[in-house]
């Protein structure tokens, strides 16, 4: 047994941290936050050049052919840096869906572009409020044409293509759902950016009107593929959340060491100290659960569904907890636009919802534990 990343993986982490510290400073994040750009193009290109976008894409599809553990390492660093790029949509969702279910032609067409930073992809799943469920999918595929409205779609306004969850049967069964790959710059597709609580990651509404698309995987297999994609993304997103939690905790710790009140560093008061200790506990539990998720993901273990849900819940809670109490430790300054605390608070609450909400994953986890228990 070895429940840790290897030395090579840790070296990759150091490289990624160094790169992101340089290219993705809070100032760079703010350029997107303030609406000066929809994402950081230069950073996106840099990530491609470093080989980070294709780290888990096989070499024959233009990637680095490393693996999911390496991708987890990168994801954590992206979370720490609050990277304002469509990384999770493109890499965790679109690329993973292609890897799981794409035909060789589809993979040849899109994966190299993703690795080179030439294509942005996303997953178009939700249709308004609510969590993932076959019944909630109304957008219909007829022949190879899609009609319906998806929203919110993460990074939908800047994406070149989307994996679209579509209805091909009339019931509420899993087999009534299929996945399609649609180019978003083509005819019959309209995208509209939507305002959201974390402007550093865009959200959009996409309207398909008889838009051309091609099936991804077999018709009728959509829900089962989607479930696998969401599980993988849950682990990868958990690493982003763990990275964000750690950074928020460090910011709080540093401020508590520097800030004086009543003649003492505020970190010497138990009220503040214990708040930080509790943040550390959340962050540690989340990291450990995420490691288990990483192992299950990288070995394609049958434990992935349970491990992914546990990582997702734990990391969501930790990031929300650390981000909100980081503001609290900073006091009034933490509530200014000028301080970076709110960027973590926004990201924490946005990532809590993107793959389905906390209560959805809670439900999933217990379902999956029960299934395992019964087996």
């Amino acid at each position: 047994m070895n429940f840790d990343f290897s030395d090579e993986q840790k070296q990759l982490r150091d490289e990624a941290r160094k790169f992101l510290t340089e290219k993705c400073s809070p100032k760079a994040v703010r350029a997107v936050l303030d609406g000066k750009a929809s994402y950081d193009r230069e950073l996106w290109q840099g990530l491609a050049e470093m080989g980070f976008l294709g780290v888990a894409i096989p070499e024959n599809y233009g990637g680095a052919g490393a693996g999911h553990l390496e991708l987890c390492v990168i994801a954590e660093e992206m979370g720490r840096a609050l990277a304002p790029v469509p990384f999770s949509s493109t890499v965790y969702l679109a690329a993973e869906a292609l890897l799981i279910a794409g035909s060789d032609v589809q993979k040849q067409k899109w994966l190299p572009k993703i690795a080179k930073g030439e294509a942005i992809g996303t997953l178009a799943l939700f249709e308004g409020k609510g969590n993932p469920s076959p019944q909630a999918v109304k957008l219909a595929a007829s022949g190879n044409a899609l009609t319906g409205v998806k929203m919110p779609v993460a990074d939908g306004a800047i994406a070149d293509f989307a994996i679209v969850v579509a209805r091909t049967g009339s019931g509420g069964r899993d087999s009534d759902i299929s996945l399609y790959l649609a180019e978003l710059k083509g005819e019959g597709v309209e995208t509209k950016a939507l305002s959201n609580i974390d402007p550093t990651r865009g959200q959009a509404e996409i309207t398909f009107k008889n838009a051309k698309a091609e099936p991804l995987g077999r018709v009728g297999d959509g829900w089962s593929i989607l479930t696998q994609v969401l599980d993988r993304a849950a682990v990868l997103m958990a690493f982003e959340q763990v990275g964000g939690s750690d950074r928020a905790l460090e910011m709080g710790r540093d401020y508590a060491l520097d800030r004086i009140a009543f003649g003492r560093p505020i970190g010497s008061f138990q009220a503040v100290k214990h708040m930080l200790a509790d943040m550390y506990v959340s962050a540690t539990l989340a990291r450990s659960n995420s490691y288990y998720g990483a192992w299950a993901l990288s070995t394609n273990s049958s434990e992935l569904p349970e491990a992914a849900a546990a990582a997702r819940i734990s990391a969501t809670q930790a990031f929300q907890h650390c981000a909100k109490n980081n503001i609290q430790v900073h006091g009034g300054m933490g509530f200014t636009w000028e301080f970076d605390c709110h960027m973590f608070y926004r990201r924490a609450n946005a990532t809590a919802l993107g793959l389905g909400s906390l209560s959805y994953w809670e439900d999933q986890l217990i379902d999956r534990m029960r299934k395992k228990n019964a087996a």
Binding site: M1, F3, H274, A277, R287, D363, L365, N373
Partner: protein
């Protein structure tokens, strides 16, 4: 990152499993598996005797205190082998409860500070369970503030004469030896006037009285010392250096990783999986599921945190005080879990006799849980440890730090 055994690990596991299958007291397996926090009872048998017999059997075959050197009764195993052993020992591991303090705290302290001769004499019977050890640190006026202790040791010739009182001593009533922290210089600041000894619990002048706990049980004792004579040869570490010796002991306590802390989660999950409510199985209720999911990820988080620590240890890294999170998380959790289980039982949740659900398992857990949040370092002390040793925050302002011990106030208000 992998969870698979290496070939060596697999061989070790197979050997352990074969031995356990052939030797474990199978007749108790079922009862042991059902026992949880606040309750290890065996029908028609004395737990103490069963535990000692199992420990001796393990020691004879080289399966006791696996990570200790062979010369001192151990096996010289790696941290991972120890974990594999624990996984294979399973429910029978619950029988080691009475030896945990001896193996986890007293033994390592002896190993670090006793003479070679003493180590060869005392450690093997400690490992084999023939001798049970206890730890005499806490006092009525020194709980979280261990260094506030007042038990006095005074030098008379080659001996020390000890007078005072300890409290919260687990297993003192069945222990053969103990390690004892005393005050040898009350005019020095409090951390600087302490000295550590080990002693025979059957020495004249040692009196053990059980404490009846809030839960109604008696796992702990008060221990009184009246002119107890301890030879200077039984001193551990230098005179007045007892605080540093105690830190070794306490650090070892926190390093006893892999020692799976009870969270109550598996019990609750199983309970909810079987409990029929008005509207169906408890586990089908959204509210129940939401709560279970939250506890599930805390329990798994603890499990994997301890696996990470073992990995670090096996690579020669020293696991840090990060492990303090275990008891902090588990203590609060087991209390919440027990309360929720009672809530699910409705008004009948108050019953804890034979007619209670699961024979009152969660009721026993509820009543025992407050102790978990206090013993071995309160939640508040654990948070201080995390904040100071992990996060590097400043310590509390200590008003008693440089005061001579006998000038520190002893009452909060007049």
């Amino acid at each position: 990152m992998n969870f698979e055994d290496t070939p060596q690990e697999a061989a070790f596991r197979a050997e352990a499993r074969a031995w356990i299958t052939a030797n474990a007291p199978k007749q108790y397996e079922d009862e042991l598996r059902k026992s949880s926090l606040g309750r290890t009872r065996l029908e028609g048998a004395n737990v103490l005797e069963v535990a000692k017999a199992w420990q001796k059997k393990k020691a004879d075959a080289g399966w006791a205190c696996l990570h200790w050197p062979k010369d001192y009764g151990g096996r010289g195993s790696s941290p991972i082998e120890r974990v594999i052993w624990q996984q294979e020992e399973g429910a029978f591991g619950k029988l080691s409860a009475m030896f945990i303090i001896g193996h986890g705290m007293c033994g390592p302290t002896m190993m670090a500070f006793a003479s070679e001769e003493q180590k060869r004499h005392y450690l093997p019977p400690l490992a084999s369970g023939e001798n049970v050890w206890c730890q005499l640190f806490s006092e009525p006026s020194a709980g979280s503030d261990v260094a506030g202790l007042r038990t006095r040791a005074e030098k008379r010739g080659d001996d020390w004469i000890v007078n005072g009182q300890k409290i919260w001593t687990s297993g003192a009533h069945y222990s053969d030896y103990g390690i004892l922290l005393t005050r040898t210089d009350p005019t020095a600041p409090k951390h600087k006037g302490l000295t550590m000894f080990f002693l025979d619990m059957k020495s004249p002048g040692v009196e053990v009285r059980p404490i009846k706990q809030a839960s109604g049980q008696s796992d702990f004792n008060e221990v009184y010392f009246s002119d107890v004579k301890i030879p200077d040869a039984q001193r551990l570490g230098n005179v007045n250096d007892g605080w540093n010796v105690a830190l070794t002991t306490l650090m070892n306590e926190r390093m006893s990783i892999g020692a799976g802390v009870a969270t109550g989660f598996p019990e609750l999950f199983e309970f909810c999986n079987n409990l029929m409510l008005e509207d169906g199985l408890a586990i089908d209720d959204r509210n129940v599921r939401s709560k279970l999911a939250n506890w599930a990820v805390r329990a798994s988080g603890l499990k994997y945190t301890s696996l990470r620590a073992i990995s670090a240890l096996s690579k020669g890294e020293r696991p840090g005080p990060e492990n303090s999170i275990g008891k902090l998380v588990a203590g609060a959790m087991i209390q919440e879990v027990a309360m929720f289980a009672l809530d699910l039982e409705g008004a009948a949740g108050v019953l804890n006799g034979p007619e209670a659900e699961l024979a009152g398992k969660f009721q026993a857990m509820l009543l025992r849980a407050p102790g978990t949040r206090v013993e071995g370092g309160t939640d508040e002390i654990m948070r201080n440890i995390i904040a100071e040793r992990v996060l590097g925050l400043p310590g509390d302002v200590r008003v008693d730090k440089d005061l001579p011990f006998n000038q520190i106030p002893t009452k909060g208000r007049a």
